[in-house]
Symmetry: C2
Amino acid sequence: MRLRHVNPLDYDRVLGVVDGWWGGRAMSARLSHVFFSHFAPTSFVLESDAELIGFLLGFLSQAHPDEAYVHFVGVHPDFRRLGLGRRLYERFFMAAQMNGRRYVRSITSPSNTLSIAFHRSMGFELLHGDVLIDGVPVWFDYAGAGGHRVVFRREIGGADAATDGNGGRLRLQDGMGKALAF
Amino acid sequence: MRLRHVNPLDYDRVLGVVDGWWGGRAMSARLSHVFFSHFAPTSFVLESDAELIGFLLGFLSQAHPDEAYVHFVGVHPDFRRLGLGRRLYERFFMAAQMNGRRYVRSITSPSNTLSIAFHRSMGFELLHGDVLIDGVPVWFDYAGAGGHRVVFRREIGGADAATDGNGGRLRLQDGMGKALAF
């Protein structure tokens, strides 16, 4: 298995699998090629032999200099529940930390209970929203009208923590480690 | 008329107009809320009274530290040919320059002759592609299979030029200054 930075040629490969990984939802329109060129330092693919089995597209926030943001993550349906989502996130945490970021932020829709469980298991806190629904804080209209979202944030340590590389604050608690196409 | 940085509330407003400005094309799926939060320092809206009449969404490349990238630009159909596209680009050039970027990059599809003319008038060079079509260099499959693109780049000066603010290398040549929803 190989975990590496994306390159522009990966765009077509991800485009070719993403709707299928999401159970037929039209996700490909949301996938911009800019992640494969301009955000390659914080975007990754996982391959098993030549096959694409996972990806994470993220960036360093340019409005919030202490934050990095996970934009799009998917794992091949046949390779779920193996901890690959966790591996992708841990690699992203490291990239964010090396760039002096203290927090990683991500969002999901309130109905995506697996994504919520995954982020909790990865040590993300759920930021206070407008309302609690089944114990989950929800931000109304976060991603446009009707785009209610759960907002996650995880502290990963800042520039100082990055100096000791992989260790220190990057140690993760045990958890279910589900890998999801959310 | 007011030219200002985007804020998260602008996302819904742009979402509400973008398909219409593109003549009915479904552009809204391509519009991510992250530009309105995490890329606000290099993204702008133009308003006339309270009405939204233009926007430019861009970012600083994280893979190419000397580049900034224009991702999405639109001008209200009733307000075209007034130089608003030029104003948005000039504001973006300034933001890119203040962040030490030397080049601004953008792309368009080979069939968008107005966008090609606009970028030429704004001093962009057309980078050498795979083939020349009607004198225009085209990159095959730039944005995925079948996503042929014309690639523009403009030098705006680097960190040193930014120190003298608005002047210096930011002076633009005269041109047609068309404002387009491309």
